[in-house]
């Protein structure tokens, strides 16, 4: 479905008041997402995960330099095509809950999402209500304003928005952050359900442990680099199936692997 080859990205920053320099945030990222699959991208915060998501959607802030090429369903994903497919074929579930307009009721925001996805103004309310119901959001929640919703409910409204667009590729950016376990599982299962319906789901998170149950493949990212892409199965035992040391260290550091980690040596640099 989606093919990313050697994607690299540079953003400007002001070293001093008048001197501007470029910093490399993504270097040579390559991965692909197949339909019906949940591909998890795991990395520490600041590894450039959200930027990857925005790069895919073509929503990067104006002054940026991007190299490498993206192909979606066989054709190259140019900026124009991105603009055309956004909301229809490509859907993004954003990281922060402040993506919901605080001044508009949730039901109406989902209806707008439906309209933007191509549904006619008449059918849009119906699809919106259906999607919200699908994510167990009752009438009161639908009429509520975003600040009146709990974290989980807001997250589900965002997912409903993606759902309404019947997009082929769904990119979820840190969907489980800040949720209690029960809400978290609910959201992740919803993503898994999307994958089962044949959509390609790119799950971006820093929480390896909870991404594993629903992910088929996992890519580890560090400081803008893709260290390794491994099938979910490789993450078991002491992680010997993993090729890179950092991935192994990450896996062993998890609490249920009793915190063992080769803490002494620094992580090797990929050549």
């Amino acid at each position: 479905m989606l093919q990313i080859d050697d994607l690299s990205l540079q953003l400007p920053y002001y070293a001093s008041w008048w001197r501007r320099q470029w910093a490399e945030v993504l270097a040579g990222v390559s991965l692909d997402v197949r339909p019906g699959e949940v591909h998890a991208v795991i990395g520490a915060s600041g590894a450039g995960k959200s930027l990857l998501a925005h790069a895919l959607m073509g929503l990067l802030p104006a002054p940026h330099r991007q190299a490498g090429h993206l192909t979606f369903k066989g054709q190259p994903l140019t900026a124009a095509r991105q603009r055309q497919l956004r909301g229809r074929e490509l859907a993004l579930i954003p990281q922060s809950l402040s993506a919901l307009d605080p001044l508009v009721r949730s039901q109406r925001q989902v209806r707008w999402a439906a309209q933007r996805a191509g549904h006619t103004a008449a059918r849009a309310p119906h699809t919106a209500n259906q999607a919200l119901a699908h994510y167990q959001l009752d009438e009161r929640a639908q009429q509520a304003f975003p600040h009146q919703l709990s974290g989980g409910m807001a997250r589900r409204v965002l997912t409903a928005m993606a759902h309404v667009s019947s997009a082929q590729l769904v990119i979820a950016d840190e969907p489980s952050v800040g949720l209690d376990p029960q809400q978290r599982d609910r959201v992740l299962n919803a993503l898994a359900a999307l994958a089962r319906e044949g959509k390609a789901v790119l799950l971006i998170s820093h929480d390896l442990r909870h991404a594993l149950p629903i992910a088929q493949r996992v890519t580890i990212m560090r400081q803008g680099r893709c260290l390794e892409t491994a099938p979910a199965a490789a993450f078991e035992g002491d992680g010997h199936a993993l090729t890179t040391r950092y991935a192994q260290a990450l896996w062993r550091a998890l609490p249920d692997n009793h915190f063992t980690s080769p803490v002494t040596q620094p992580a090797p640099h990929v050549a």
Binding site: P12, Y14, W17, W18, R19, R20
Partner: protein, 267 residues
């Protein structure tokens, strides 16, 4: 060097240059603004009188420059006094709840009267003239800045490092000197810079209405007031150039203020 930053720096330099040249040129004028050339009355702009001459044959260019300097000094003094009063009132508001209530009542009272009306009354109460304008502008402009400073100080009082130094037994004077004043100073500077163009414009308005500077001083408001009589007589240059001069000066001041504020915020 990024393009927007470069243009900002360039325009600031230009503004500074313009302002300085105006002030220096005006200093060198001496008596020319008062000289009357009876033979060359009401002549349109020409080679020896760049901005033409007024009904009494005085060179409008010289009078405009003199007027601009006058407005500049009146504006800066008014802005200075306004900021000092604002700082003083903000500090007194910190003395205690009763003081705070009194200060905010005074602020609300002054802010609820339309600006120009308050200016007119104060200037009139002082009998007109330069000092009246400076005091009037200062007295009517400090409330908005005082409100900002008061909010800042209230916020500061709860700041942890201030409470710690209080706990360490530092005297109130020490706290005020070492914590409050340095923290509030940037706001005062920004406030003064914002207040300056306002002060210059209001001084011109007061002189135009006839309460500001007396008719002999070449203040811009007076020049524009006089030119009102000749608008339909076809002598357009009497009003256009002084007004344009004032507009240019206020723009320069705004640009300087903007850049200083950004530089301070970026520090």
């Amino acid at each position: 060097m990024s393009q927007p930053r470069l243009s900002a720096l360039l325009s600031t330099a230009l503004a500074g240059l313009l302002l300085a040249s105006a002030l220096i040129a005006a200093a060198g004028l001496g008596d020319t603004p008062r000289q009357m050339h009876f033979d060359a009355r009401l002549t349109p702009p020409n080679l020896d009188f760049w901005f033409g001459t007024d009904a009494l044959g005085r060179d409008v260019a010289a009078r405009t420059l003199a007027g601009l300097t006058l407005s500049f000094w009146v504006g800066s003094l008014a802005a200075l006094f306004g900021t000092l009063i604002a700082l003083g009132m903000a500090l007194t508001a910190m003395l205690g709840p009763r003081w705070d209530a009194l200060v905010s009542l005074v602020i609300d009272t002054l802010l609820s009267v339309p600006h120009l009306l308050l200016l007119l009354m104060i200037a009139f109460a002082l009998g007109g003239g330069t000092h009246a304008v400076i005091i009037a502008v200062a007295l009517s402009h400090w409330p908005s800045l005082a409100r900002v400073l008061r909010a800042e100080l209230l916020h500061l009082r709860q700041a942890p490092y201030v409470q710690i130094s209080q706990a360490l037994g530092k005297s109130r004077g020490f706290i005020v000197r070492h914590h409050w004043i340095p923290q509030v100073l940037p706001h005062c500077l920004v406030g003064a810079l914002l207040l300056f163009p306002h002060a210059v414009l209001h001084e011109a308005a007061l002189s135009f209405l006839g309460v500001g500077l007396s008719a002999e001083q070449p203040a811009i408001g007076v020049l524009l007031g006089e030119s009102m009589r000749h608008v339909s007589g076809g002598d357009w240059w009497l009003g256009v150039f002084p007004g344009a001069g004032l507009l240019l000066m206020v723009l320069c001041i705004q640009r300087l203020g903007e850049t200083l504020r950004r530089a301070w915020a970026a520090r």
